[in-house]
């Protein structure tokens, strides 16, 4: 064990190894952040659509979820990175105008965003379906339209109920950014491996990454627990201890 390695300079690079890992962490968090915005928006939309009474919408929503759930994440990365630009000339034109890091970053955000959105759609659907049917009817009875019923009655309750599974999805998303290593995005895992390979300090590099991922997982857990306490509906869901 030699902690001095972290302040050692990277050969033909700028900065020490710890700065490399920190920059990797930055990419990991940035990727996860933007992917989460896509995932939450699309996931909510698809989840809601699957609880409406329009059969074709329900079927389209189900197909969407099945599509992203039944293909391994790394294969989805390859599809977005290699197959989509290879099949669609317009995308190809746009992609070659980007520099490689931008291309990897955008691909990772889109890929992880859509992959996670399918899982969130599943949570949102089950959250809405766990509400008693009377709530929807009550909304209609006081004259709300379907959109208003979702906006003011069903979704505010459903989101609160699914906060625990959403917490695990946030953590899964952050962990899944490591797979972006497969297309060469310079995120935390990429930097960890680079450090291990170049310095032969496998133990130190992997231990540092392990520690960072654990801290992220714990912080995400705390933040979500805080949100859960703040938005708890009195008397409906068990409130924090």
């Amino acid at each position: 064990m030699n902690l001095g390695i972290f302040v050692e300079q990277v050969p033909d690079g700028d900065g020490a190894w710890w700065e490399m890992l920190a920059s990797g962490l930055g990419w990991t968090l940035a990727t996860a952040f933007f992917a989460w915005i896509i995932a939450f928006t699309l996931g909510s939309l698809v989840g809601v659509v699957r609880t409406t009474d329009k059969q074709w919408l329900v079927r389209a929503g189900n197909a969407y979820v099945e599509l992203f759930r039944n293909i391994p994440l790394i294969v989805q990365f390859f599809v977005w990175y290699f197959v989509v630009p290879g099949l669609i000339p317009a995308v190809k034109l746009w992609v070659v105008s980007l520099d490689p890091t931008e291309h990897q970053f955008v691909t990772s955000i889109v890929c992880l965003g859509l992959f996670t959105s399918a899982r969130i759609a599943e949570q949102v659907r089950s959250g809405i379906q766990s509400l008693s049917h009377g709530q929807r009817n009550a909304g209609y009875a006081i004259g709300l339209t379907q959109t208003q019923t979702y906006r003011y009655v069903l979704l505010p309750m459903a989101y609160r109920i699914i906060i625990p599974p959403l917490t695990s999805e946030v953590m899964n998303l952050i962990k899944n950014t490591a797979v972006a290593y497969s297309i060469g995005l310079i995120e935390l895992f990429f930097r960890t491996r680079e450090m291990a390979e170049m310095t032969f300090r496998y133990f130190e590099a992997f231990a540092a990454a392990t520690l960072i991922y654990m801290v992220i997982a714990m912080s995400a857990n705390r933040v979500m627990a805080f949100i859960e306490r703040r938005v708890a509906v009195p008397g409906y869901i068990t409130q924090g201890k």
Binding site: I71, I74, N176, F189, F206, A209, M214
Partner: protein
Amino acid sequence: MGDLDFDVIGRSLPYLLKGLQYTLQLTLTAALGGTVFGTLLAMARLSSFKPLALVAAGYVNLMRSLPLLLVIFWFYFLVPVLVQSMLGWERPPQIGAERSAYITFIMFEAAYFCEIMRAGIQSIPRGQIGAAYAVGLTYWQAMKLVILPQAFRNMLPVLLTQSIILFQDVSLVSLLNVTDFVGAAVKIAQRDSRIVEMYLFVAVAYFVLCYTLSYMMKLLQRRIAIVH
């Protein structure tokens, strides 16, 4: 689009099937091994002997907070070193990524199967274990004859869902240059410069396989559900 050549799939099919065979072997081994170790871990987590429960919980939480990819690389580099120090050899053995992956996935999945089995064991009314003790069974007998068979049956759908996720996760070993299904496709794609065709084929193949598996699982679930 004009210059796509899907014949490459037919030409390389035997090689791809060999990769798929490795994927399936690894999935099955890890699912079985993970269930066994996961069940033991779950029993440890529920143990009234606090240090044991704490160690088990620490292991499970550690594994669950790390990306699988990091765990794969940890084991790939640690297992030879550990074997070396345990057996007192002079040099670390050449284990290779193909074989170390078996250990990795068993150990990693054990953490996830542990949480499933823990929920399963806790779903059995506490009175049953009291009843088992009352008729004179020991702890192991009570677990083997009363609690675990019911826990397994209750949790079978979740265990199978986790196994399908595992089947997909195994594809990450391709990043260690292992020739699993994805690894085989990557190698052919690069050798023949048929990247678009190969990756498209792998995506479709996985979709068909996983969709069929989860559909069969739904049918099974309906058959084995315990009627209350």
